[in-house]
């Protein structure tokens, strides 16, 4: 069992590049998770637009068709409804499909197959049929993708009973979480924050990107390991406040806290359904303050759920109102991308507000 146990991610340490350790970016980590999983279980099939010979527009499936053949890794028609629909049927047969939706913004034509079918198959058939699929999809902005290559629709899926939603923030986590998602017997939406495929994002778009290899979270063990769904990661530890974030925003929050000298428990939620409520409660009860950060639009965003949960469960421990920092309630703009993005100014001001009466 030792190989299946969770290992804690190494902490991020700037500039530490021990040469003996293998360092991967998030694309390579995801590719390796698929590779490791496919080698272990020949019921796993990978399909999607451009994922076969070409290896995916972000290269996440590179080399897999060569290794596992065209009937296990194949291109599909441009039909997300069809991609998810056939994945439901394949799951009913006994396969474990891992469809890729090229951008999360394209997932909507497949949403009926996800919400009305995959998510409810186990329930409506009293477990006669299940949908053990993992839908991988790059999401989030910060790459000048405009309104159709930048969205963060995680709250739509979190709202659906029967779906799990996973969002990794590091290469180490991406590999372990993806392996766990693929092995999960329920449908999982696996959103990959494409802004941090190549390196964590500080929130300063005008500074050069730091590649993953400069951070220890890029140390990815070879072979098989899994990170259980529903366990948050404490990215940094501190007792002034709790920051709840996932994906790209974990790194932006880290950078802003570091700059401002704020000592925060930054909880990288990793999965929003199931949610690690224990970790959230324990941290907020310790710090008494809570900031929620996500890139998605504000109204009915997942931050609203988090804010409600923290208020319901930790109210008497709170010393300041819960704050949310989010994207604005507009479509994702192209030229004004960085005005939309919940960057260092928005986060910094929220931190100041939450901490204003805190004696430093």
């Amino acid at each position: 069992m030792s190989e299946t146990e969770t290992r804690d991610a190494p902490a991020s340490v700037h500039g530490d590049t021990r040469p003996t350790e293998r360092r991967l970016n998030m694309v390579e980590a995801i590719n390796e998770a698929l590779d490791v999983s496919m080698a272990r279980d020949d019921n796993i099939v990978v399909m999607g637009e451009d994922v076969g010979y070409f290896g995916g527009v972000f290269r996440c499936t590179a080399g897999l068709q060569d290794r596992y053949g065209k009937t296990r890794v194949f291109d599909t028609p441009i039909s997300e409804c069809g991609i998810i629909g056939i994945a439901v049927g394949m799951g009913a047969y006994g396969l474990r499909p891992v469809p890729e939706i090229q951008f999360a913004d394209y997932i909507y034509p497949g949403i009926d197959q996800l919400i009305s079918e995959a998510a409810r198959l186990r329930y409506r058939s009293a477990a006669e049929y299940i949908a053990p699929m993992t839908v991988r999809s790059p999401f989030g902005g910060g790459i000048f993708g405009g309104q159709t290559h930048s969205q963060s629709p995680e709250a739509i899926f979190a709202h659906v009973s029967g779906l799990k939603t996973v969002i990794p923030a590091t290469p180490y986590d991406a590999k372990g979480l993806l392996i766990a998602a693929i092995e999960d017997n329920d449908p999982v939406i696996f959103f990959e924050p494409k802004r941090i495929y190549n390196g964590p994002f500080s929130g300063y778009y005008d500074r050069p990107v730091q590649p993953w290899k400069r951070f220890d979270a890029s140390i990815v063990p070879e072979g098989y390991y899994r990170i259980p769904l529903g366990k948050a990661r404490l990215a940094t530890e501190g007792d002034q406040l709790t920051v709840l974030a996932y994906g790209t925003m974990v790194h932006v929050a880290e950078e802003v806290c570091r700059e401002k000298g704020v000592e925060a428990d930054i909880l990288d939620l990793r999965t929003i359904v199931p949610l690690d409520i224990e970790a959230i409660e324990a941290s907020v009860k310790k710090t008494g303050r809570c900031l929620i950060v996500h890139e998605a639009t504000r109204t009915s965003g997942f931050g609203a759920e988090l804010s409600a949960l923290v208020t319901e469960r930790c109210f008497y421990h709170l010393e300041a109102p819960v704050e949310r920092v989010t994207g604005f309630d507009t479509p994702y703009p192209h030229s004004l991308e960085w005005a939309y993005f919940p960057g260092p100014i928005r986060i910094g001001e929220a931190l100041d507000k939450i901490l204003q009466d805190l004696k430093r």
Binding site: V45, T71, R72, T76, P77, S79, C81, G82, G85, I86, A87, V88, G89, M90, A92, Y93, G94, L95, P97, P109, D112, Q113, S116, E117, L121, R122, Y123, R124, S125, A126, A127, E128, Y129, I130, S161, G162, K164, D184, N185, D186, G230, V273, P274, L275, I277, E278
Partner: protein
Amino acid sequence: MADRPEGTGRAGENRPALSLHVPEPKFRPGDTVDFSHIEVPEAGMQARPDETCDPKDMRELAYGLVRVLGEDNRAHGPWDPKLDPETLRAMLGHMAMTRAFDERMFRGQRQGKTSFYMKCTGEEATSVAASMALAGDDMVFPSYRQQGILIQRGYPLIEMINQIYSNKGDKLKGRQLPIMYSSREHSFFTISGNLATQTPQAVGWAMASAIKGDSRIAATWVGEGSTAEGDFHAACTFATVYNAPVILNIINNQWAISSFSGFAGAERTTFAARALGYGLAGLRVDGNDPLACYAAEQWAANRARANAGPTLIEFFTYRAEGHSTSDDPSGYRSAQEREEWPLGDPVMRLKRHLIELGEWDEERQEKMDLDAAEHVKKVTKEAEANGILGHGLHHPFRTMFEDVFEDLPWHLKEQAEQAIHERKTKFPEGLPNEGKGA
């Protein structure tokens, strides 16, 4: 009229005015029905190509009508499946049982024993005969009017009734609307209730079977109305792209609740002709001719098993009853349609064929119908012992929270506790039916 873009002035003012066509069925309530516009070719006249033929060499079959049983009650032509009398009698028996079951369940709904029911009267052949042409372990992805498949595959009636009553015997734990059956044991996929979603799923199952080098094929059923859904077109595309071993059965019963088939495009072409644009084999079949239904499904199954590709079949039939217990067809169509339907009734046609063969008679038919009704009545009583909808004999409260996920996460555990707390608040002495049901 909407404003034109500024600066275009009076350009185009002298062009003719456009008009929008909104389809209208030929007959509404009270109208005299005349179906003489429906072309009914003579039985036996349609060519039967080799199962492995190129779809472009069988174009005409997408516009014609494959028929076997003639006006003389005899089987004709190359599509005659040449079934032995025993098989024909079994087919008749399954169809009669389906009809008897529908009658009883419809009445049960009217008596308040359940919330909803849907009959398949007049369409029995499209499920029973088609299902008989498949192997028992071929996977079927039905819509909601294929109860004939379950009956043909020997699914116990009591399981169907338990499901319809959502009682404590319901294998699906009372979670699904009546008639949305599921039976993995009978290779029968869980019925959704959302329309056409099952069609790409069937293609995916068939692709999986092909990936694994299995020999089983998949078949799906969809109404002509819901072929308008994107899912159906995704299914056709994926089926043709991967040459999937799948059969796409379209049940063209003319009506989708109150919308006639014209709202799915029937005024312009046949549903079988959808196949042509995709490069699928397409067959248009007399859906009230059980032998033609069997023969077409068998042809498509042979084609799929030979790795020769998918087939789209349009079964041309008529929905003799309302859409469900929730609508009154006299409010939107002429009651004469049923009587005037030019393709007759599938049960009657098969009965007359068997009599013509000297393998059946009216007395045996009467006895069979009576036995079927008696059997359904007996099983209904047995099922009622497990409860009827709304009378307390349901599954325990906690089962409401099971199977959302494989494991119960914290938020569902909390909500399950709340539900049980509410029950105890309402029934401090225990449930009225405690010990029997919850």
